[in-house]
Amino acid sequence: MTAAVIKTQGLEKRFGREQVLSGIDLHIEPGQIVGLIGTNGSGKSTLIKCLLGLLRRSGGSSHLFGEDSWNLSAQAKARLGYVSQEFAILPWMKVQAACDYTGAFYEHWDHPHVDRLLTEWELPRDKRVSTLSVGQRQKLAVILAMGHRPELLILDEPVASLDPVARRQFLQSLIEFSADEKKTILFSTHITSDLERIASHVAFLRQGLLGYCGELDTLKENCKRLRIHAASPLPGDLQIPGTVRSEINGPDALVTVTEFHAETVAILSRQWQARVMMEDLNLEEIFLEMSGFAANTPLMESTT
């Protein structure tokens, strides 16, 4: 097994009495592109800051490249790139100057790469940072985080203020970045459609707890919704392995399972003389189902 790039065990963070993170076990290996999904206020940014040592954890352990997050060496810091939500770039600097200034802090700054990205992303080199739009500033922050060709890129809501074109360009640059199979990306977002294109793994964060954490493909293959129509009323405590949510209404039931097996359908059909339909779920639906926000799915499909 390869060494983990990010590893936390029982990571906790409290602000005063408020418990923001409670016992996070995260394990990210080189080459993974991990999407951290959570609702607003679920602790995504706090988790990222604890990983980077920007916030001091209240309990548990957290390691980056095998080093304690709170005591990262300069070498470890040189191997990572980070874009925060509240990125601060000196506002009076011009775009080109901001790139050169940031580059001066790094031993291995890739000037041609930065130059190419500035052109591709249509950032005006001689404009002052303060006159850029929010989206342009975010693009610049991402470029600055990638200029030293880090091995690990951590992005906190990187696409929130980008328009669709810029978002596509941004994803393209992440794909380029990850073409080298040793590179690792962790990015938090609530835009699941972007994640579905490029993430290899997803981690669900909800109220400071880590829910599912694993391969995106496995999640999609195993998480299904079963629409059951039986010959007679179904029991209220219908037992189906891996149920995350069920809605039973007489002979009709809607059950979301996380461990789908083809046999389940056969067993249910036989046991209840039921017609069972299996529905695929996309990432957004799975997230909603797992966090218990999907209570409004209509039980009956419209029959037209």
Partner: protein
């Protein structure tokens, strides 16, 4: 001849994993004779860049297709489609088809189609996809 990445249609926000969508489409192209043995598939890098997806997704799809004996990695050339031998006894192959057709028949019944009407659809498809 190499098939272009744009001939693939992918839906990231579908419940079907992306690698599976690509595997399914290669199989469908083979069945529909759009793809012939000896033809090439684009490189992982090309596919990933043009479809805007993670290169690992493409690798995974190609690895699956390789394991199923559909593709072969040709040194320095990319992925080449292999001639398709027919595997399994007639009964086994029919059982495999039965599973796929069951879903279609159930859908037909839900749509209120009778035997004849369902068979008409099947006949139309048989004409469209020649042997």
């Amino acid at each position: 001849m190499t098939i272009r990445p744009s001939q693939f249609e992918i839906h990231p926000s579908s419940g079907v994993p992306l690698f599976r969508q690509i595997v399914d489409q290669v199989q469908a192209m083979l069945a529909g004779k759009q793809l012939q043995p000896g033809e090439m598939l684009p490189s992982v890098r090309q596919m990933a860049a043009e479809l805007g997806v993670n290169p690992m997704t493409i690798s995974k799809a190609y690895t699956r297709l390789e394991a199923e004996g559909i593709l072969e990695r040709a040194r320095g050339k990319g992925m080449v489609i292999l001639p398709q031998p027919i595997q399994g006894t007639l009964a086994q192959r029919q059982r495999e088809l039965e599973a796929a057709m069951q879903a279609a028949v159930v859908r037909g019944r839900q749509l209120g189609l009778n035997n004849n009407q369902i068979q008409n659809v099947l006949n139309k498809l048989l004409k469209e996809i020649p042997q």
